[in-house]
C-alpha cells in the first residue's frame, strides 16, 4: 500500500526552538510538495521539488523556513526559530510528473505543529 509517510504526526514546541518535519514520498515519485493548512489561510503551497531539485519555494518565509531533499526517499522542512504563528498542519505530498502533464498529488497524514 503505497503512501506518503510524515513524521512526527504531532509536535509541540516552545517558541524559538528548531522544528524538523520529515516526509518519505511514495517510491518512484519524482515530485514532492510541502503545504501548510490553517483555518485562516487554508492550504498554502510552501515549496516543491522535482527530481530532488527545488523548483519553487516562494511560499516559504525565507528567514526561518528551509526545505531540502537529502535523497529521493526523504524530504525535510525545518523551521528555525519557530514562532506561535507557525502553528498549523504541515502536509507533504508526492507525485510523478510525465513530460508536460500535471502532477497528481498524493498527500501524507500531516504533521500538526503547535508552537507555544
Amino acid at each position: 500500500d503505497a503512501r506518503v509517510t510524515q513524521t512526527p504526526r504531532h509536535k509541540v514546541t516552545e517558541m524559538g526552538q528548531e522544528v524538523t518535519m520529515r516526509c518519505q514520498p511514495i517510491l518512484g515519485h519524482n515530485t514532492v510538495f510541502w503545504y501548510r493548512q490553517t483555518m485562516m489561510q487554508g492550504l498554502e503551497l510552501l515549496a516543491y521539488f522535482r527530481n530532488r531539485a527545488p523548483l519553487d519555494d516562494s511560499g516559504m518565509p525565507k528567514d526561518r523556513f528551509s526545505a531540502e531533499m537529502p535523497d529521493a526517499t526523504l524530504a525535510t522542512l525545518k523551521i528555525q526559530p519557530s514562532e506561535p504563528r507557525d502553528s498549523a498542519v504541515y502536509f507533504c505530498a508526492s507525485g510523478y510528473r510525465l513530460a508536460a502533464m500535471n502532477t497528481e498529488a498524493f498527500f501524507g497524514q500531516g504533521t500538526r505543529l503547535t508552537v507555544v
Binding site: 510538495f33 503551497l45 498529488a105 498524493f106
Partner: protein, 111 residues
C-alpha cells in the same frame, strides 16, 4: 495573483440529495482542476480531476462540470451519503506548478 474562490463555505444536504460545490478561478493559464476530499485528521485525497479541453467528467456519483469561458467549475455529488460528510477542496494548477486550493466546503449529509 493566483486565486481560486470556492463556495459555499458549508453545505447541509439530506441523504440521497445532490451536493453542489462551485469554484471560480482567475488565471487562464491554469490547465488542471482537481477536487480533493479531506476527513478530520487526514490529508486531502484526490477525488476527481478535469482538464480544460473537457466540459464534464463523471466518476461514479461524482461529476465535475467545467465552463472555460466563465472560468468556473463545480463538483456534483449525486445520491449524497452520510459517509460523504467531509471537507471538499477545489484546486487548480498550471503545468509544472503546485496546486492553488480553494478555501474548502464543509459538507454535512444528514441520514
Amino acid at each position: 495573483q493566483q486565486q481560486v474562490k470556492q463556495s459555499p463555505q458549508s453545505l447541509i444536504v439530506q441523504k440521497g440529495g445532490i451536493s453542489i460545490i462551485n469554484c471560480a478561478y482567475e488565471n487562464t493559464a491554469f490547465d488542471y482542476f482537481p477536487w480533493y476530499q479531506q476527513f478530520p485528521g487526514k490529508g486531502p485525497a484526490l477525488l476527481i480531476a478535469i482538464r480544460p479541453d473537457v466540459s464534464e467528467k463523471k466518476e461514479g456519483r461524482f461529476t465535475i462540470s467545467f465552463n472555460k469561458s466563465a472560468k468556473q467549475f463545480s463538483l456534483h455529488i449525486m445520491d449524497s451519503q452520510p459517509g460523504d460528510s467531509a471537507t471538499y477542496f477545489c484546486a487548480a494548477s498550471m503545468t509544472s506548478r503546485g496546486l492553488t486550493f480553494g478555501q474548502g466546503t464543509i459538507l454535512t449529509v444528514h441520514p
